[in-house]
């Protein structure tokens, strides 16, 4: 019963993976003849300014987004978990961005950044808002951070919320009697107890942010210039239209190794932290 599944999975997943790795050692441009060129592609990828720039952008983006998303979603989750009115409605509203298609959300915010924010900036005399930030090479990445966070916060909030609901309320009463203030309660009780949920969220948001693609297509197309080209965008853009098939395969192989190492590293460090607490 599992044999057809294995054959299909091998054909459409493992085989392309092997091909990708294989072609990264050749000079194939997607059609015609090719020959082995050893690790020349890899040497060139490491020295390629476009790709280095893409790594710079992707890491800056992924780290900032992961931090922003986790801080804000933890705060929202704590607020939603405390005794407030309209809890369930608010929860439904805060989760809502998660079910929308990333591309279309990107297009909508494109308009907000291009037209609404500049009007607001003019009206309030804030010069930094008065032009389209997506058109500014040094600010465009922040626009993408905002939109990516807008959707990821929805997801991470729900995960933190379900973590908070696993905590027994008696512990809070006990710490209250012992005279702990709110900050102490958070640092010494809440945060350690939701450590596994923190791990899930950190790993998933980092992995998701490193793979950023849809937002780039919708909002900047990698621009202005090449300011917001992410690694996945470079692989897609130059791999398909630039005739750099083998070269971008080498780039993808390196990217694969980077993503796996980061995920494993995060899991190891965060899992160790869970034990220590």
């Amino acid at each position: 019963m599992t044999i057809p599944a294995v054959i299909l999975f091998f054909t459409f997943h493992t085989l392309p993976l092997i091909k990708g790795i294989f072609y990264s050692f050749t000079d194939w441009n997607g059609y015609g003849d090719w020959k082995f060129i050893g690790i020349k592609n890899f040497i060139n990828v490491v020295q390629d300014d476009t790709i280095r720039n893409a790594y710079g952008f992707t890491f800056k983006f992924a780290i900032v987004t992961t931090i922003i998303v986790n801080v804000i979603s933890l705060a929202i989750a704590i607020a939603l978990n405390s005794s407030i009115k309209f809890k369930n409605t608010l929860r439904a509203i805060f989760f809502f961005p998660n079910v929308l298609g990333v591309l279309i959300v990107g297009y909508i915010f494109n308009y907000v950044f291009a037209h609404l924010l500049p009007q607001l900036g003019d009206a309030l005399n804030i010069s930094f808002l008065s032009s389209n930030i997506l058109g500014n090479p040094s600010l465009a990445w922040l626009g993408i951070v905002f939109v990516a966070s807008w959707q990821s916060i929805a997801f991470n909030t729900i995960i933190y919320l379900s973590g908070l609901q696993t905590i027994d309320q008696d512990i809070y009463e006990a710490s209250d009697i012992d005279g702990a203030n709110k900050w102490q309660t958070f640092m010494k009780i809440t945060f350690p107890l939701i450590a596994p949920f923190f791990t899930i969220n950190m790993v998933l948001s980092m992995k998701g942010s490193l793979n950023v693609f849809d937002q780039i297509v919708a909002m900047t197309g990698g621009g202005p210039g090449n300011a917001t080209q992410s690694i996945t965008y470079v692989i897609y853009h130059f791999g398909f239209s630039g005739g750099n098939f083998a070269y971008q395969s080498a780039n993808a192989v390196i990217f694969f190794i980077v993503v796996v190492s980061i995920s494993l590293f995060q899991m190891k460090v965060l899992a160790k932290r869970e034990v220590d607490l």
Partner: protein, 275 residues
Amino acid sequence: MKKKKINNLLTVIMITLAGIFILFPLYILVSTALKSPEDMMKSTLALPTIFRFDNFTEAIKLTNFFGAFTNSAVITCVSVVFIIISNSMVAYAIARNQSIKYFNLLYYYFLSAMFVPFQIIMLPLVKQVSSLQLDNVPGIIILYIIYGLPINTFLYVGYLKSLPKSLEEAATIDGATIWQVFFRIIFPLLKPINATVGILAFLGCWNDFMLPLVILSKPEQATLSLVQYIFQGQFSTNYNLSFASYLLALLPIIIVYVFAQRFIISGVTNGAIKQ
């Protein structure tokens, strides 16, 4: 019971936040989609003076909305149904035979594939798929079903391990075949995890942009997301038209969400926590 006191200040803060950051962009979406270009000139924020439903009829005609909607619906529904049936079968075979080396290896084979980013297989995959003439709707459905295996095997195997084997053993003694055991006994017991897998697959397939972008070569097979990308150039600066089109594309999922939000939230949460 002083803890039970409703925190009014926090309630107000949360409602304000939700209003500004989540409901306001939605208001922009809906109001822009309903305005005429003249209304837009007066104010980008105000409510439309007249509801201009022509935006929608134009958007439907231009983007072939019903065609794209049908494509999205067919791809999503067929994929979800087959993902649930086929992936649970594979997981069942693995979960009940993990003492056999082959099945155990298989489990880790699928699991390790979760770490492979799509970009690394993307370029060779596209070549391969088009040479097999699967660069179409049936092809993309096959891919979704196959790519569901890693995560779903993991979710199903985890759940199956928690089910007692005694029921199956009793059925086998009574002479039930393995298929009867699976469909009559196991599959109904999988209901909660089927819901989780189904919801995740539904959201994933419906909102996916990358796979349709690289796999679907003919414009008439485009999904709702892909259509927005294809027609970006033709919308140009007619924001009322483009927003009407975005709203139409988002409407199905918004409607589903309004009616099934509890169900969707718990499905997504379950899926993430079991990882």
